[in-house]
């Protein structure tokens, strides 16, 4: 093997660099996100009315698409009322409808968004509810 020593040293350095993050940080999983829906506003509601605009599974999967749709319909068309599958009506507003119940932005929004490293720009303009520091 020509230049065997140099190649071996190079290989060792390369492997060291590649595995450094794993050796340094360890291979432990980040804590799973645990969004909370136990705000005082929600707990105040009677048990049977404690429902979001749509079902929990739908909201989990599609809330970002729904918010985009709400935004476009309100800002561009001036239509502000959303009727869900059960026939209940809601005013389409992130600040005045969603966050009135989910008044715990740090535990409800940020919990998963930080875990998934997504940074929606909602709060650059929309005013987040004031949370009591516990």
């Amino acid at each position: 093997m020509y230049n065997g020593g140099k190649i071996l040293i190079g290989l060792i350095i390369f492997v060291g660099l590649v595995t450094f993050p794993f050796l340094y940080g360890g291979v432990k999983a980040t804590a799973k996100p645990d969004p909370k829906i136990d705000t005082s506003e929600i707990l105040k509601m009677p048990e049977k009315d404690r429902k979001c605009v749509e079902s929990k599974t739908y909201m989990k999967k599609e809330h970002m698409k729904m918010l985009n749709e709400w935004r476009d319909r309100v800002v561009r068309d001036g239509n502000t009322i959303y009727t869900n599958a059960e026939g209940k009506t809601f005013t389409m507003s992130l600040q005045n409808t969603c966050m009135k119940c989910h008044s715990n932005k740090s535990k409800f929004c940020d919990e998963c968004h930080n875990y998934a490293a997504v940074k929606p720009y909602c709060w650059d303009c929309h005013i987040a509810p004031k949370e009591k520091k516990s």
Binding site: R76, N79, M92, H126, I127
Partner: protein, 271 residues
Amino acid sequence: MSVNRRDFLKIVSMSTILSIGGVASVAGLKNRVEASQISKNPEALTAKRWAMVVDMSKFKSEEDYQKCIDACHRTHNVPHITDNPKHEIKWMWPETYDHAFPGNEDEYRGEKFKEMPFLMLCNHCENPPCVRVCPTQATFKRKSDGIVMMDMHRCIGCRFCMAGCPYGARSFNFGNPRPFIDAAKENPEFPTRTKGVVEKCTLCYERLAKGLLPACVEAAKEVAAKNGTTPGLIFGDLEDPNSEVRKILSERFTVRRKPELGTGPSVYYII
């Protein structure tokens, strides 16, 4: 199994037609479901084309104007920036006659008229130049009621609209506006803006959608009650011949700002 050329073509063409029909009918159904879910608030105020009349004689002092301006700026969380006049954000502001109506200057006009502050706001033009120049359609004219709207989600801050607007009705956020909003007076029901977007009067679209009059019009009513006059800001539908605005326009002499430019402003002034 063998298929001859003729049968093969028959099967292919039939299945193509069926699948196109199927896709179209599913798409049609989907649209109908979505359309039934989102609707207008039945209490919303509607018009074909909103317009405003500013009756100058009803405002007795600087304070009276300031009340309307404050009501607007508080409702919409407009920052109060004083350290650099170029960074000032204004949805409503006072202006002198010579600035508001250039081309009509007269050196012998009395001081009273020269210094009289005119209340300025976005003219919600019939043919808005800001909309024509916007590359992202962040500013657009609402077909339903003629409001020249801003979609802050789309604004890229190119400021073409500011160059296009002949009335100076638009302001740019050179920095984060939040430190300049008094937290105690902030309206938690309306968003603020962010660095790098253009903003202007939206004729209180969010209040109209709830069935409320614009904030400045409400404030003008309070001012009128204090002065014992009729309100100085009159709001109504320009396309409705029976509206209050149209009645005033047919009876009183009114002027608009720079109508010769062909923008068709919807704000009228009685001097």
